[in-house]
Symmetry: C2
Subunit: 470 residues, 2 copies
């Protein structure tokens, strides 16, 4: 029985009214159709339009997820997994309507295996809550995108953040996933061993798949011991290039820096205003070193020597935990700090990633573009991996301003791709960056991605209109 | 035109005579059909039977590979990529005949980007030659399976080795791959940026796929700066459990140990005999620490304190490079060292991997089994990751001895899986471990792996009869 619903395109949207009836029968008040709740479950973070789903379903467990997947499959209705809604490229929009499957109630920490340095959690656990729960066991999970995202969302966008240069990205820190596939099967991609060669890497298939291949309902993560000693600090540079050259030499010399973050002079000014940092308004690196007491100190000294050879000012360390926290809070508050730069505008964050040797060129050409186009766009970067962000202040109500912002972002991506880089280092594709994948990967690679999508989701019910949009 | 060839099963082996005619026309003397060459290109490392291909083709470049893939597709003939033939589970056997595609002549180092800490190579480059080429630039590639394997083979089996505890496995160190797909498309899975969220992780799809999804013709690898200071050494323990508990505490305390290798007392005795190490014949850890001078020393001290609390003897460091090299050469020569333990027998290596907390139990129960079954089987392990090997001395000419060895290996795998571990940490599945995948992963997960295989290789020409054997 296929009855077209007025709100959705029949070919892609399926029979929503029949699906909603079945959902209400099966899940009762876990199904919510209020317009406000639906709008909150679509894109709210960027210039992309808000495209709400037809209904939101709150899942309590894997069984609920199976029920929803089964009904969406039966009636051909789109299904969009939802964590905290902090993604930046329209990942949670519902361009063809359908169901937003809210996993925030699946927030149990199922097991912490301290001796094995791993834990098993549900996808709705957020990174801050996870770390609060781990702290008294001397453990932590290092991946920290700016927002307090859900771990399910972080898996799905292949998130990273400030610690990735030392601890890797989500790709490197997920041991196993439980996933409900579009065909209704519940699979576990791997066991708890820290490494395996036992067949295809299904774990990495779902890391970064943005909910287009299945719904993650359980995550096994690698954990780390909290380092004995943490040395943090800041270091000013006369130019972006000096800072970038210092980064390259530090990484190349094998200093296992835990964080090495670039803030351009515009961002430093903004952070000075927001967090009262009192820093000179030139490009800075914010750094952190983890290790034994002498080891961490020696890393910091080695960095300071390299920096001095690149005309840096003094490395000022933040030794007390409260000073260190203040520093990183300021870094994580970059988004908030820029809002006063253009009152009323929206802060639209975008990222690219290039090989290290091209970083200085890419950042400097991007800054020239910002200046020439008359934009306000501070730059911050996880520069140890060649990854940086611009935070564009856009008046989204003004079509001309939005068009200029889009042009700027397209040029930034083209520049990164021309330097053998990628259109996104950690934000993901969603809707916003689909248009760049052909230029980045080529037609045959995109075809291979489509082959994957079709093989696992032949009906195209899982988060349709994202990544490869078959 | 499909004409059955006597040597191969027509359904699975395709039309070999037509394929060989086409190959000879296209590639001339790159096609070799001598029985001796064919036998060398099948399994020669274990108790598994040698199942030679019908022909060997030596590829010079990606174009040759495309030609071979095209002809194999046209005539439905199996195609088995071949590097150095050092894999341990029958990966290169040709159970349905067909073509062994020898990639050893594709051994060019195409680019070393020292500033980016990456390189681009062909799949026939071996790990030792790569490191010889990198050394004078102060760089190295850390992954070191015992054999001097080709990088293409190491990608395909998701290899690791002694450094994985610090530097990860092949999964963590491949940035991009060029692959000829069964449909003839040549794809590049990613660009050279150190991280990306731009779509599905096709790179990890081919890492560990054992040549069943396509032929790798180019590899972009992450490189590392050679550490300023390397401290290596050995430490004796009264029992396996004391050694394992020391490993857990060392990892948990965040000491970034670069190598932490277990040798049981049987292996120590064998290595003493082979390499004149003169060690006390008790379980040992062999260790290495990388860092700044004080940092590496402090790591070693921290380890020694932890070890002392677990009844260890003194940590004896090997400070001179020649002593350090002798130590690791002895570790890598474990295979050769055990041959005198049972003259005439074959050394059959197998591996499992379990969560760290189960390592001592798993190793000790395995040792009990060795004793009770009257086997000779020294144990070595990359224990920082919970991964260990037995080297079984098997008289492969004696069916009873082979049967006993197989029973022992099956029990070792069952034990690992019961402890939430995997049937192989780094050797791969090949033919030898296919029978364990259902127990390890469950039927639905195996189905998902088969979905992948069918999507990319619907004709089942790529290394058929391996991993999931659709």
């Amino acid at each position: 029985m296929v009855v077209a619903d007025a709100k959705v395109e029949p070919e892609l949207g399926g029979d929503f009214s029949a699906a909603s009836e079945a959902l209400l029968n099966a899940l009762g008040n876990k199904v919510v159709m209020s317009a406000a709740i639906c709008a909150q479950h679509a894109n709210i973070t960027t210039y992309l339009p808000n495209e709400p789903p037809d209904a939101v379903v709150y899942a309590n467990d894997t069984r609920d997820v199976q029920t929803v997947v089964g009904i969406c499959r039966e009636f051909g209705v789109p299904l969009i997994p939802f964590g905290t809604g902090t993604s930046l490229e329209g990942h949670v929009n519902a361009p063809y309507g359908g169901i937003s499957l809210d996993l925030s109630r699946m927030d149990r920490i199922l097991a912490v295996h301290a001796d094995d340095l791993d834990c098993v959690i549900e996808p709705g656990v957020t990174r801050k809550r996870l770390n609060e729960n781990l702290r008294d066991q001397g453990l932590f999970f290092p991946i920290d995108p700016g927002a307090d995202a859900s771990l399910g969302g972080m898996v799905s966008t292949r998130a990273s953040g400030t610690n990735a240069v030392r601890y890797g990205t989500m790709k490197d820190n997920v041991l196993a996933l439980k996933v409900v596939l579009p065909n209704g099967d519940v699979i576990t991609t791997a066991r708890r061993a820290r490494k395996t060669s036992a067949g295809y890497d299904l774990t990495r298939l779902f890391v970064g798949a943005e909910g287009t291949l299945g719904v993650i309902t359980e995550i096994t993560l690698r954990l780390y011991g909290i380092p004995e000693t943490i040395v943090a600090g800041v270091c000013p540079f006369p130019t972006i290039r000096d800072a970038c050259d210092t980064v390259i030499e530090t990484i190349q010399s094998g200093v296992p820096v835990a964080r090495i973050e670039l803030l351009d002079e515009v961002q430093v000014r903004a952070s000075n205003g927001y967090a009262k940092l009192g820093l000179p308004e030139t490009p800075h690196l914010f750094l952190e070193f983890h290790g034994t007491p002498a080891g961490a100190r020696e890393q910091a000294e080695r960095f300071a020597e390299i920096a001095a050879a690149h005309s840096a000012g003094a490395f000022v360390s933040a030794d007390r935990p409260e000073d260190r926290n203040r520093l990183w809070q300021a870094r994580h508050d970059a988004y908030w700090s820029v809002l006063p730069l253009r009152p009323g505008a929206k802060a639209v964050a975008t990222d690219v990633c290039v090989p290290l040797s091209r970083l200085a060129d890419c950042v400097m050409e991007t800054k020239r573009d910002i200046e020439e186009m008359g934009l306000i766009a501070p730059i911050v970067g996880h520069v140890g991996d060649g990854n940086f962000h611009t935070t564009l202040m856009v008046d989204v109500a003004d079509p001309a301003d939005t068009a200029k912002a889009k042009l700027f972002m397209a040029r930034m991506v083209e520049r990164a791709i021309a330097m053998d880089g990628t259109c996104t280092g950690e934000h993901g594709v969603g809707q916003g960056k689909m248009k760049y994948l052909a230029a980045e990967h080529g037609a045959a690679t995109l075809d291979a991605m489509r082959t994957l999508k079709r093989a696992f989701d032949p009906q195209n019910i899982m988060n349709p209109g994202k990544i490869v949009a078959v």
